[in-house]
Subunit: 138 residues, 2 copies
C-alpha cells in the first residue's frame, strides 16, 4: 500500500477498489439517493422527499453523476415538460451491500439510529411514477 | 421514509442508521485512513504515505474528527516534539465490514481495481512525519 502505482489506466487516485468506489459515492448523499431508489422511489420529486431533506441542487448533481457512472438509468416518462424516472442499474443495485454494511455499523454504534422502513413512494406525492413496491432495504 | 422525523435526539439529518454513519465517514478519505490503520499503519507519517496521496491538512482534519467520533484513539509515543500514534477503537475496527463491501463492489464493477495488499508499515518510512508529497485535494 505504501508504493505509488504509476500507471492507473484512467483510475483516479490508486488501484485500490475501495478508493475507486469512494470516488463514485464517497459523500454524504449519493448512498442515500441509492437507498431511496432501492426502496422504490423513482421520480425527482420522490427522491427530493427524503427525511434528510436533500437540497435540490445536490440531488440534481448526484443524479447526473450517478448516471454518468452507470449506477442509475434515467428514462423520460413524460414529455412537455419532459420528466425522468430513475432506476438503479444492476451495478447500482449491487450497492445495496454497501448500504447494508453502513446500516449495520450505525445501528450498532450510534445510539438512536434505526433501519428506516420504506413508506410507499407516491404516498406523499400525488403525481408521477406511482410506484408500488414494498422494498425494504437499508 | 417520506415523513420527516422531528425529534432527532441529537442525530443530524434523520434517524437512518446509514445516514448517520455517512455523517461520520461519508467522504472520499476517512475510510481510506481507516483502511490504512486496519493494515497496521499508526503514525501520521505512515498514514500520510498512502498511494492516494492524502493531503496533509485533510489527514490532520480527518484524524481529529475520527477521534472525536470515538473511531480512533491517539496516544503520545514521543515527547519533545510530541508525536502521536493512532489506533482504531473496537468501533473503528468494526468499519472493516464497510470497507470490505466497498472493495467487493469496486473489484466487481470498476475495471482495473485491486485489493491492495498491505506493506509493512514503516517499511517506506524511517522517521515519522516528514512528508513531502504532491498533495491532491478532494
Amino acid at each position: 500500500m505504501a508504493t505509488k502505482i504509476k500507471d492507473l489506466d484512467g483510475l483516479r487516485r490508486s488501484r485500490c477498489a475501495a478508493a475507486n468506489t469512494l470516488d463514485l459515492i464517497g459523500d454524504k448523499w449519493s448512498l442515500l439517493v441509492i437507498r431511496d431508489m432501492l426502496y422504490g422511489k423513482r421520480t425527482y420529486g420522490e427522491l427530493l422527499d427524503s427525511p434528510e431533506g436533500i437540497p435540490t441542487n445536490i440531488l440534481a448533481e448526484r443524479l447526473k453523476r450517478l448516471e454518468q457512472a452507470g449506477i442509475i438509468v434515467s428514462t423520460a416518462y413524460q414529455e412537455r415538460p419532459v420528466r425522468y424516472a430513475y432506476t438503479l442499474s444492476a451495478k447500482g443495485a449491487a450497492m445495496g451491500d454497501i448500504l447494508l454494511a453502513l446500516v449495520r455499523w450505525g445501528k450498532e454504534h450510534i445510539p438512536g439510529t434505526l433501519v428506516l422502513k420504506a413508506t410507499k413512494p407516491g404516498a406523499t406525492q400525488s403525481k408521477p411514477a406511482r410506484r408500488a413496491k414494498a422494498p425494504r432495504a437499508d
